[in-house]
Amino acid sequence: MISVGEKAPGFKLPDHLGREVGLEQFAGRRHVMLLFYPLDFTPT
């Protein structure tokens, strides 16, 4: 797992509402919380 203090790796990915969302677009403007999860339609 990535460590606190490291530079966050960039990404640009499609989302479920047809948008392309990249980390870069939030640089200097927003904090970002990434919720990684195993799979859709699974419990918890």
Binding site: I2, G18, F36
Partner: protein, 204 residues
């Protein structure tokens, strides 16, 4: 995810954009989000190449081909401020994560602009859909995931002859999906989704 959706105002107030991410496709995401009563924040498809972003964060579980259940908070400077796993079968504490984001925001100090208020989608006459139609489903899912049910009346032209006649009268044909806004017709599912997103989504 529904707990997070409910706490979005708190994350927004802390100038934090929430993003969900798994190896599923955008179609799977949209259907799942709908089954959870609508998820409006982005669910990202780390689908191709599979799990590449999870790998970059050291959160891809090679043996199982899935991503760990883990949370990474990145500040506006692009630096990781929090990283934790609850394991795939574990549960996140969203309240605790909201408090962490508030702390990151406080330490960052002033200077970040507030999230913009969505402009709204205006007065929509109706969304006409067909049964068993993937394009109609796309528009329907976006309507639900952005919580637009009350603002976008739904008419099914397969099940309701009156709706079909109305669509023909309004647009000259019975092609669906079709979003009618102040008498103007929009037929492409992707255009309809974009229209909903541009008016109602508050990614910012």
């Amino acid at each position: 995810m529904p707990e997070t959706e409910q706490l979005l105002p708190r994350f927004r107030a802390a100038h934090t954009q929430v993003l969900g991410i798994s190896v599923d496709s955008i179609f799977c995401h949209a259907n799942w989000a709908h089954s959870l009563n609508g998820i409006s924040f982005p669910l990202l498809a780390d689908f191709h190449p599979k799990g590449a972003t999870a790998q970059a964060y050291g959160l891809y579980l090679d043996g199982a081909g899935i991503t760990d259940r883990a949370t990474v908070i990145i500040d506006a400077g692009g630096v990781v401020r929090h990283a934790s796993s609850v394991t795939p079968s574990g549960r996140r504490n969203i309240e605790e994560l909201a408090a962490l984001c508030e702390r990151v925001d406080k330490e960052h100090g002033a200077g970040l602009a507030d999230f913009p208020t969505p402009e709204g989608i205006g007065k929509v006459d109706a969304l006409f859909v067909k049964s068993n139609c993937g394009h109609s489903l796309k528009a329907l899912l976006a309507r639900a995931n952005l919580h637009l049910e009350d603002q976008v009346p739904l008419k099914n032209v397969t099940e309701d002859a009156e709706a079909r006649n109305e669509l023909k009268r309004l647009t000259g044909k019975d092609q669906a999906p079709c979003l009618v806004v102040q008498g103007k017709a929009m037929h492409e599912a992707d255009d309809i989704v974009r229209y909903f997103v541009s008016g109602a989504a508050d990614i910012g």
